[in-house]
Symmetry: C2
């Protein structure tokens, strides 16, 4: 018998396509993953970017999950092995036939073809869960809002878009908490950027003040040098700070203040955009979009991620 | 940026499992693929064997196909690239999340996990269509009944099991004929075994006589040595013949006669089974099963394939 592996490799057609830049956006349910991703997708343009949600890899549909001892957050409730395989294929420039989970009906439906573009954005509950999955990414982000903020977002979304009552959503959050703690939140430590939208605790801002953002930049990948833009005293809109991560590792922390008037934030945004090599036309309009409103802290966080997607030396 | 390919390879867990033996059974619609495969599956036992149909890789469902200029037989009507990818993954011992086409409803539904067993049987319209797909197989079979026999089988099956009228089936056969000629029948030349069930033209057997089988054994893989069992004059049940393939290549042809009384065929079947190294208990009961009836020619064809699945030196 001939060496079949060799035969398979030789029969495989040469791929002309480049390997895509792979971005992971991990975080708990309703942590803001889709909002963050949407602005990046639009900034890159549909032709250059393809998005994928790892929640599509649910192993069981909603009806089947009712009788199971775990929730959709649990790795055993997901085809983690297939998710890893598909991420590896996409990372090496191959298409995949991705499963599809319909959040509206809770059913698993017909799969769809995903062909890698220049950038592949992967968001979901578990993209950084396992080592084989993490190995596929060039840039990894974890969304880390305070739990009370996330609860509010989840109640709002699941009632408006998925037909639940607030009581149902809160009960589900309660049921999921041990699995969030065990499987979702530990992914935070594997992120190159940890993004946290929250009010500033030391201030007593009136209701309606936009949330501020803290973007922790871990030295696991080379971040843009913002020291010139963010010299002390130059702006109230944001500042850089050397901090220890809760697990003790050193990191840079960018604090973006939501209470600052928009013009002031926009000026810094423009300066950062120029510092990042401004490909012309100014920072994309889609950054910071929050429904019909706009959040400068969100725009800044997206800008820092966009840097890696546009500049990455492959 | 670190070498991501290396990182991905290093992060991949070591597979304990062996690479499976891959068998392809190709042929046109209603050529007898499932009947042939079923007997082999049962002979191997469910734990040792997993089956997969490449028709599940249809790109469009039945409703969508109505408006297309080709039929389900056309490669463009199928995710051929994904089929190749999945065959490669299975051939190297990896699981796949296989799409599912529901023949009853004509819909593409929830995919299913397929984990490779010792033997993977792949049947369908297009498994030998492309070089990357063919590279995945250890043994390849093409089912080649005369067209008028296949038409009869297709009318019978599609009316009984898929709710069509005979007129509809014949019209569909007409519509498919150019694509059968262009894409399905050319796969015959890539098969190690070509199996043809047909009446013997030179005889005038009464209606109801079981079909005979011609099994062409191409020297592309090492077939069992049947010369001892099939010495001239030893049996009327079958004989070996050196022949030229229609495309000119030399091949061995085993002619199994359907008109011979069952006991005579069974004796030769036993002798072949012994020649193949008889793992005990005699040839599996499941071989030759044809609905509620039994066909010795089918059993012999299956036995010759089974040899490769049980004995192959990997």
């Amino acid at each position: 018998m001939p060496d079949k592996s060799l035969r398979i490799r030789r029969a495989r057609p040469e791929r002309a396509g480049r390997r895509p830049i792979m971005l992971a956006i991990a975080g708990d349910s309703a942590a803001g993953k889709t909002t963050l991703a949407r602005g990046l997708e639009e900034a890159l343009g549909p032709g250059r970017c393809v998005s994928l949600c790892t929640d599509d890899y649910h192993r069981y549909d909603r009806a089947e999950r009712k009788d199971l001892p775990f929730t959709a957050l649990h790795p055993d409730c997901n085809h983690v092995g297939i998710m890893e395989q598909h991420l590896q294929l996409l990372a090496t420039g191959e298409p995949v036939l991705k499963p599809v989970y319909d959040h509206a009906t809770g059913e698993l439906v017909r799969p769809e073809l995903v062909e890698p573009a220049d950038v592949v954005i992967v968001e979901g509950l578990l993209p950084l869960y396992s080592k084989p999955a993490r190995a596929c990414f060039d840039v990894t982000v974890f969304l880390d809002p305070p739990e009370e903020i996330r609860r509010g977002w989840k109640v709002q979304r699941d009632c408006a878009k998925r037909g639940y009552t607030p009581e149902q959503v809160l009960a589900e959050l309660e049921r999921r908490e041990p699995e969030s703690a065990a499987h979702i939140r530990p992914q935070r430590r594997h992120a190159d950027l940890v993004v946290r939208f929250a009010p500033i605790e030391s201030r007593d801002d009136p209701a309606g003040t936009p949330l501020s953002a803290t973007v922790m930049l871990r030295p696991t990948i080379p971040h843009p040098d913002l020291s010139a833009v963010l010299q002390p005293g130059l702006t109230r809109a944001m500042h850089l700070k050397l901090e220890r991560d809760p697990d003790g590792r050193p990191a840079e922390s960018l604090h973006v203040h939501g209470y600052v008037p928009r013009e002031e934030s926009l000026a810094v945004e423009k300066a950062i955009w120029a510092e990042l090599g401004d490909p012309g036309g100014g920072a994309p309009e889609s950054l910071g979009r929050l429904g019909d409103a706009r959040s400068e802290p969100l725009a800044i966080a997206q800008l820092l991620i966009l840097f890696h997607l546009m500049e990455l030396d492959r």
